[in-house]
Structures are given as structure tokens and as C-alpha cells.
Symmetry: C2
Subunit: 311 residues, 2 copies
């Protein structure tokens, strides 16, 4: 039976997903009718969803069986009371690779002091001692697909990596901690802290003034996770006082980050415009197609969101 | 019998090597007398050597049995006609780690376009597509201890890596080439080129105008190997014409790089002051102690330089 799928990602995304999604469906042997608008919401069985473009009210979709998000983060839909069907989020292998590259690149940038080198093109030969990765303690908050990939790559390069997650994990090459006491331990030792947690009520403002104060003096934060993980004012205060040496931020409470936001002009902040990693049509389409195949076959869906937990 | 060892690395290096070297000798069970000057050259059996501080004329050292270099490069001693005894060079595991970190850091910097991000802190939110490492072809010239470690780490991060060496090599995860035809192949495909060859008569000016022209338009060079591998004028011309997008250089024909050298002020050149990696007293002392143990025991020395080959 033909699955009726509504692609609710907006016209630009439809243009880039239309072909790869059709190809992935053919590859997976899924019989589906794909459209970017639904004249009759009562026919739609699956919505491929992004926040902003996707519906806010799911009530009219009376035959809806699943919503499949194209984003890794689901904080803008997970609490929607009109959504009564299973929700999946995107775990895209290409997005994981891109995130690993962004994190390793920025951690090495701070580890090696690249900003200093770039600023010193003035004809003065100033040699300096550079520490080795094995002498550098890196903390990674969040050990989902993205955090795990980044933490593992850093450990392979020799960094001394501690990871923290909500529930206990055991990952080769990493020192894994969990719970409030574990968080304190990871913060206490993190010369470079990478935040890759989902945004949930539990992680909202997780890095507040008290927790930022635990980081060693001169620590650096790299946040490609979610803007809301950090209390912006507490971060600015910790940077202004010199307790933190730098923050490299890819995600913000409001995006695009407003032009007058103090992060833009702060000498100790690097803003990147939410480019750490992106969902890619070719690989993401395969994930969607596999979940549509599973839905049609009555098999359990991949990357199902736990609505209670929030991700 | 006590080995008579002259540490000819200069007073600063003596200060940092004295203790770790004594500890390494004790650990290795080597009976040696260590001094930083020799009243009687005829007593000296081994010289621990760096260019600049070490002797230029080895003739007075009539009992000399070996010279053990503290540097990875030996181009300033290998052709010395007064040196008649075996010469070893430094292969320091910590130096290999540091080099791997510098190379991966700068390759990721160019791959991710970090310079652009750092320059764009002006309040304008400009998202851009960033390629994945697996879409990026990196060439590594030189597959000795340093080149191998850097190339392997880049391949582990997903980069498509081609390596080139004088003699054929077969290394897991890398596409290995050798000889003149192999060099052309690697250059043709290298969006980012890393040069980690030793300086020998064969590699002097290896990257001349003709070979630089083989690189794809917009290619980037990262040279932490030896300054003399590249023809400076040809490099500047290729940067000025826009054929090459950038060169990140850590080593130079004259060091310190003179303040008026055009590399300093060139917008497409990043100068780092020979800090990519350094020999570390603790790990290098263990290499020296092991070679002294081998010398005393009549065993073959590690990291012996082939005087004909030049490294």
C-alpha cells in the first residue's frame, strides 16, 4: 500500500531533497507518494518535518502515523501537545562526520594557540612552547552520536578526554562520568570544554555561573550543541573577568544572532553562524527512507524520540 | 667501561637535558660520564649534537665512536667530511605527536575555513556550506615517522589522503605513491598539500614553479618540514597569481625568518616560528640513552643516518 508522505521542510529544502529522497525510497524499495503540500491533511500518514516550515498543529492530520524530523534537535516540537504519534529525529552519519571535524578543528585551534599565530604576522620571530595533546584535558558534555564521535576522535589524537552524559556510558578511550557529581568532576578538569547536549528542560542553562566557575582558570568553551545550554550573561561575565579565556559558539538562543549581540564584538568570543554541521540531503534521505520502510513493515523506528526525556 | 659522552647542544639545552639524560641513562643501565665540555677531545667517545652548538671539525675527536643528533633533520651535518663515525638522528615519539597535532590542526583550519570565520565577527550572519573531510583530498609528501603519523591521523578523520615517498611504501588507509610519476599524481589531486620530507640534495627546491603549477587551483600548502623544500619565489608567484590560496609555513631557508621577508606581510601566507614540533628532553633523552646502551653492548644503533641518502 502506498504511504502518503508530506515533506514539510519548506520550498528550498524540498528542492534539494526531492531527488535524493525519491532515490533513497527506490533503493529501500518503499512504496510512497511524496509531496511538499497536502490538499487533504486527512490523507497524510507521515510528515517529514523541520521547525519553522512544519505544522504547529497536528490535529487536522487524522491518519498521521509518524513525524520524522530532519534535525538532530527536537526541542521545538517535542512538547507539542497536538502531536500524538511517534516522533523520530535525524541521526545523519554525514552530520556526525561534520560535527567531528568542527570539534576537532576548534579544539586543536585552541590547543595549538592558532589565533595567536594568526595575529603575529608582524615580522617578530617569537618561539613558544606548545603542549602536547596528551597534556591537555578536554571535557565533552553529551555522549550521543555527535558527542561520542567528537570525543573518540579527540582521544585518538592523544587528548585526555572526559565525557559526561545523563545516563552511565562506557566508551573505549574515554573517561566517562554521569550525574551531578560526574558533571562537577568533568568541569573541574576541562581546559577545553565541548558542549554537545540536547536542549531539554534539564539542560536549559546548564552552564550557569556556578558551573562555569568550576572550570579551570583560562579554560575555553566550544559550543556547537545548543545555545540554551549556556547562560549567556554568566558566560560573558566569566569571559570579562578573565576566568575563561575564550568561547567559540556556533549556536545561540536566537538565530541568526542579532547584530548588536555582545558575542559578536567580544574579543574572547568567536561566533560561527550555525555551520558546525548540517544535515545532508543524500545521507539524511537514506535515514528517512529506512524509517519509512520500517513503518510500512511494522518494524520499530530508528532514532525514536522519548517524549518524556525530551530527545 | 664508562662511556665518555660530550653534550654539545649549548648551555640552554644542557640545562634542560642534564637531569632527564642522567635519569634515562640510569634507567637504561648505561655507565656513562656526561659533560657539556671536553678539556681533552681525545677522550670523547660520543657527541650528543645540535647544529650551531656542536663541533664543525670532528678531527680532534680521535676516539669518537658515534655522533647522536638531537634534531630530526641532519642536513647541516650529514655532508661534513671530517665526520667518519656513525651518525644517528632524533626520532622522538613526543616530536611525532606534536607534528601530528600541528598538521591536523592546520589542515582542519584550512578545510573548515577557520580564518574566514575569525575574520567575520562583524554581526553579519553568513551561513555557508562546509565540505566533509571525505570530500577533501590531502597530499602528504614524506612518509617517515612524522609524515606517516600525520597522514594516518588525517585519514582516520576521514580525509582522502595520498602519500608520497622516495621509496615505495604500503600504509593502511593511505594511497601511497613514489617516484617522479607518483609525485605528479599526488600533486595533481592535492587540495591541501603537507610537506614533511627531509632536506637532501634530491629534495632541495622540490616544489618549484612547475610542480606548484600541478596543484589544483585554490590549493593550500602546509610546510612544517624544511624551508628548502620549496622555491620561495615560485611560491610567492603562485600565491600572487591566485593559483594557490594559502601557504602556512613553519620552516624557512633562513631562521629566524628576516623581519623584511615578504612571507611575513603576504595576505596569503601564515608564518609560524618553527614551533610545529620540538624535541622534548624527557622523551629524547630516552632515545639517546637507548642508543648509548646499544653502542656499549655492540648492538646496531637506532635511527642511523644513511650518509649517501642524506637522512
Amino acid at each position: 500500500m502506498t504511504l502518503e508522505v508530506l515533506f514539510a521542510g519548506g520550498p528550498d529544502r524540498w528542492a534539494s531533497y526531492r531527488t535524493p529522497l525519491a532515490m533513497a525510497l527506490a533503493e529501500a524499495g518503499v512504496d510512497a507518494r511524496l509531496a511538499d503540500s497536502a490538499e487533504d491533511p486527512e490523507r497524510v500518514e507521515v510528515i517529514v518535518y523541520t521547525p519553522g516550515s512544519g505544522p504547529r498543529d497536528f490535529t487536522p492530520y487524522t491518519r498521521l502515523r509518524a513525524v520524522m524530523g530532519l534535525w538532530a534537535g527536537v526541542e521545538r516540537i517535542v512538547g507539542n501537545p497536538t502531536l500524538k504519534v511517534p516522533l523520530t529525529r535525524m541521526v545523519d552519519p554525514a552530520m556526525t562526520e561534520g560535527m567531528r571535524e568542527y570539534v576537532v578543528g576548534h579544539v586543536l585551534r585552541h590547543h595549538l594557540g592558532l589565533d595567536l599565530d594568526l595575529a603575529r604576522q608582524d615580522g617578530v620571530w617569537r618561539q613558544r612552547h606548545v603542549a602536547l595533546a596528551r597534556e591537555r584535558r578536554v571535557g565533552v558534555l553529551g555522549l550521543g552520536a555527535l558527542g561520542r564521535a567528537a570525543a573518540t576522535a579527540l582521544a585518538q589524537l592523544g587528548f585526555s578526554v572526559s565525557g559526561w552524559s545523563r545516563t552511565p556510558r562506557d566508551l573505549p578511550g574515554l573517561s566517562c562520568r554521569h550525574g551531578e557529581a560526574g558533571l562537577a568532576e568533568v568541569l573541574d578538569g576541562a581546559e577545553i570544554l565541548v558542549t554537545l547536549l540536547p536542549h531539554t528542560p534539564d539542560t536549559e542553562g546548564l552552564l550557569d555561573a556556578r558551573r562555569l566557575a568550576r572550570l579551570p582558570a583560562g579554560a575555553v568553551i566550544v559550543n556547537p550543541g545548543r545555545g540554551a545550554l549556556i547562560d549567556d550573561d554568566a558566560l560573558l561575565a566569566a569571559l570579562d573577568s578573565g576566568h575563561l579565556a575564550h568561547a567559540t559558539l556556533d549556536v545561540f538562543r536566537t538565530e541568526p544572532l542579532p547584530p548588536d549581540h555582545p558575542f559578536w564584538s567580544h574579543p574572547r568570543v568567536t561566533v560561527t553562524p550555525h555551520i558546525a554541521s548540517e544535515t545532508r540531503p543524500d545521507t539524511a534521505s537514506r535515514v528517512i527512507a529506512e524509517n519509512l520502510r520500517r513503518l510500512a513493515a511494522g518494524e520499530p523506528l530508528l532514532h525514536l524520540v522519548d517524549r518524556q526525556r525530551g530527545y
